[in-house]
């Protein structure tokens, strides 16, 4: 579907992107993560054919985007970071124009227009001038624009950026509903978004891929490193020793009196043993819960270890 091979892009002496390679199949939703200035937008601009790479190649449905740009670009829908809207046009006129330059056959144009306007929830504002729309609606028109040629590849650069919480949820639902028949690449720096929408994650830092994983194995990975948080009413010197005597516990740290962080070895679940011990010793068990590693922590770890 999409083959990105060894992409490198220099802006003068600045290396924005270095040796990025990945492949996506139909139905994949790739979350493209990274701090600001990591090279997300540059990579997306190269994939969509906006600018050529210094080195490397991009193939969309086996068509090289720089050897046959007109063919490859027909397969792509692209929402840049700032939605590319003509403020003086009405929504319907604008989408009609985009359909024309995206070479939507004139027979299908009407039905495509209705489909995208319906799907993006903008039929109600179709007659309005784009300049007068709210930011959320503008973003929807931007997504509608990207969908008008029924692309097999959808590239969305920070689609929920700058929206209010309700709008963010709506746009996420919309993106989710678009997955399945298409390949979607989505950049963001809002991490929970990735867990909600994406099937794969690439974390990019300083122009390089720092981590590439499917979301499933990522969350498996996170689980296996789960620590436990324990809070007791009665505590004393002997508590740590006793807990450490339980099998499969590699370490016990105490953060405050009566509060412990327990690191089990190899992800073994020791909650039963802990609970029984607490009851048996009459410690007064107040709290026992897993300390989940969030994607945020992984992200920070990856980014800082790279730096």
């Amino acid at each position: 579907m999409i083959h990105v091979h060894n992409l490198t892009k220099n802006y003068g002496s600045l290396r924005a992107v270095e040796n990025i390679s990945f492949e996506l199949e139909k139905g994949d939703v790739l979350g493209f993560l990274g701090p600001n200035g990591a090279g997300k937008t540059t990579t997306m601009r190269i994939i969509t054919g906006y600018m050529p790479p210094t080195k490397g190649s991009v193939r969309i449905e086996n068509i090289d985007i720089f050897d046959h740009p007109l063919e490859a670009k027909k397969q792509i829908g692209y929402l840049p970071e700032n939605p590319p809207l003509y403020n003086d046009m009405s929504v319907a006129d604008y989408l009609d124009f985009v359909a024309d330059i995206k070479k939507v056959p004139s027979k299908e144009k009407r039905s495509r227009l209705l489909y995208v306007m319906d799907h993006c929830g903008i039929i109600g504002v179709s007659k309005r001038i784009i300049a007068h729309l709210s930011k959320g609606y503008k973003q929807r028109v931007g997504i509608a624009q990207a969908l008008i040629n029924n692309p097999s590849v959808l590239v969305l650069d920070e689609p929920t950026n700058g929206l209010d919480p309700v709008q963010i949820i709506e746009i996420r639902e919309l993106i989710k509903s678009l997955a399945g028949e298409r390949t979607i690449i989505l950049s963001t720096h809002i991490l929970p978004e990735v867990t909600m929408i994406c099937s794969r994650v690439i974390i990019i830092n300083k122009g390089r891929i720092a981590l590439e994983e499917s979301l499933e194995s990522l969350s498996q990975n996170l689980k296996s490193k789960e620590n436990l948080y324990l809070k007791l009413r009665q505590y004393g010197e002997s508590v740590i020793d006793k807990i450490e005597s339980i099998e499969n516990i590699s370490k016990v740290n105490t953060s405050a009196p009566g509060e412990y962080v327990i690191v089990p070895s190899n992800g073994v679940d020791v909650r039963d043993e802990l609970a029984m011990m607490a009851v048996a010793n009459n410690w007064g068990l107040l709290e026992l819960r897993p300390l989940t590693h969030t994607l945020e922590e992984v992200f920070l770890k990856v980014i800082s270890s790279e730096g």
Partner: protein, 250 residues
Amino acid sequence: MNSIYPILYRELKSYFASPLAYVIIVVFQVISARFFFLYLQGFLHIQLDPGFQLQRGELNLNNLVIAPYFGTISIVLLLIIPLITMRLIADERKSYTAELLFTSPIELKSIILGKYLAALILLVIMLLLSSVNMFVLMVHGNPDIGAVTSGYVGLFLLGASFLAIGIFASALTENQLVSAVITLGVLIVLWLVGAMSPVDGSILGYISIINHFEPFGKGIIALKDLVYYGTLIYLGLFLAHTALESERWR
């Protein structure tokens, strides 16, 4: 190349969606009508001069009204055309729509030509409306139709060259004002560079726009002038194309 049409249509609609096109057209009409009236008035006055009878052959409608009128209109075009072209590409950058255009399955050529043709249509509308002045002459006088026609051909070619240079300037920047100032600067330099040199046998004289426009006002359409304007138009569009292409490779 069939993508030229949607680009052209959108551009033209956008001209008339803002007050800009109307303001430009009205200002152009008022200025051209005012100058036409001044030259006509001058001509009527000079007829009362006793000396007029001695030089009848020289002092006719063509030399005293039509030729200077076209000369003046050419300068008005020089001042107005940077305002027509300034937004063409600069504004696409500013409103981020450049990303839409350049990731669409259309050639850069079609984008530039579509925009250029839209500006050209606006120019033709302006020239057609101002030709009312000439109809006044035809009704009440006996102007040389050949000179009037060739004068309009000259104005069209002149304006078309200005537009091509303007679209190039617009491709260089995202700031409309910068684009307009560059266009105006280039046009004035091209206009004056060889004003004192003869057309033939001098490079500066050949480059100068003014030297190629004068013959049209006198009813002369020469191949070398057509070639000159054709080259200028091609050069402007080619440079615009190169500027946009190279920007993305940088």
